[in-house]
């Protein structure tokens, strides 16, 4: 095969003066033709990674669906053990953080350093608020004996004598406490894996914040903010599905404690 017949050969000459930042560092890496191609490649590869993330969480969602289909009553009872209000609050916190992240990406593209730093800091605060609320929930679950493998004694009347009525109700409905335990296993694995992603995301935002305050992203090199933003939004999307699946299985019972 001759070189002429190879249609994939690109005989484009790289720009003689590639874009550079204020320090003179070239923003265009040598293996790309131009900035548009570089941006496209970075975005596409981040999406390739996000696809693997969606599939990883997808496995958990699929396993959850099979168990919920098999033990609908146990999952409904298990869902009432976790606080719908805390879940709703956290969903709101995460949605606001997605907006601040989108605004940070926007500010970086417009090269507004002050606004970029402000929005990144807001995202960081909201992200930690989410982790904080989750921490309060998990601590409560621990003390109530709802943590399988670590503290599982909710239906043990020798530890919780005032749960006798609930144990009787469970027996009358023909639901095994182990099936409720399975719901809690899913709850901790899914929110736990999501929490790990939150902490990775918060680490990224912290690094971005430090670099942004040094003007690293307001010189035309705004794409690191955009790519990290994609990760942050994906975590938000995972939670959008986790929230109704874990907290709202059999509807909200009003009158109970909100937190």
């Amino acid at each position: 095969m001759t070189a002429e017949s190879n249609t994939l050969t690109v005989d484009k000459v790289p720009a003689s003066d590639p874009p550079s930042d204020s320090s003179g560092q070239h923003l265009l890496h040598h293996h790309f033709d131009d900035m548009a191609q570089q941006r496209e490649c970075n975005t596409l590869m981040m999406w390739a990674f996000l696809v693997t993330e969606i599939m990883m969480f997808g496995g958990l969602f699929c396993a959850y669906a099979v168990y919920r289909w098999s033990y609908p009553h146990a999952f409904a009872i298990g869902s009432h053990h976790i606080k719908w209000f805390m879940g709703s609050l956290n969903t709101g916190v995460l949605l606001v953080s997605s907006l601040t992240m989108a605004m940070a990406v926007h500010s970086a593209a417009l090269r507004n350093k002050k606004r970029l730093v402000t929005y990144l800091a807001l995202t960081l605060v909201l992200g930690w608020a989410f982790i904080g609320i989750k921490g309060i929930e998990w601590t409560q679950d621990y003390h109530e004996g709802l943590m399988p493998g670590i503290a599982w004694n909710y239906y043990d009347t020798t530890v919780h004598p005032h749960h006798t009525e609930e144990v009787q109700k469970l027996a009358d409905a023909g639901v095994s406490p182990n099936a409720v335990k399975m719901f809690m296993v899913f709850y901790f694995f899914m929110t736990g894996l999501h929490g790990i992603h939150m902490i990775i995301g918060l680490t990224l935002v912290t690094i971005l914040l430090v670099m942004a305050s040094r003007g690293k992203f307001t010189n035309g090199n705004d794409q690191p903010v955009e790519i990290s933003g994609l990760y942050w939004h994906l975590i938000d999307i995972i939670w959008i599905f986790l929230f109704p699946l874990l907290y709202l299985v059999s509807g909200i019972k009003l009158g109970g404690p909100l937190w």
Binding site: D17, P18, M55, H233, F241
Partner: protein, 123 residues
């Protein structure tokens, strides 16, 4: 030869910048849908609509709309290249394949008449 200023403009023009108003509208829609999700969970639609999975179907439909808004606008997929859009879509396609075959297995397990070893040997 390009000046530094010209190359700066080139960088900005190489990608689409979405107006702030779009972000605010999308955020408003997301918050409204969150309230709708919570309110919908307070009503037992399985009784009202005489359909067992009514509540979960409503909750998932709202979640899909919310996720679509985040993907299309916050993640810029609506303004991205067709290849990026294809990558984003393929994740959900394969998710669908996984759910389809998993539930194809679990839900069809009782469909086959149970034939015991005794029937086969005629005893």
């Amino acid at each position: 030869m390009q000046t530094a200023h010209e190359s700066d403009l080139e960088v900005i023009e190489s990608h689409h910048i979405i107006p702030v108003g779009v972000y605010m509208k999308v955020f408003g829609a997301l918050m409204v849908l969150l309230v709708v999700t919570v309110l919908a969970a307070m009503e037992d639609f399985s009784v009202r609509l005489h359909w067992g999975p009514a509540n979960i179907v409503i909750a998932m439909a709202i979640a899909i709309v919310k996720a679509a808004l985040v993907i299309l606008f916050f993640m810029h997929v609506r303004y991205s290249s067709r290849l990026t859009q294809f990558f984003a879509a393929i994740a959900f396609l394969f998710l669908g394949v996984m759910f389809f075959f998993t539930f194809g297995d679990y839900m069809s397990r009782n469909w086959i008449p149970q034939v015991s070893a005794f029937n086969i040997t005629g005893r």
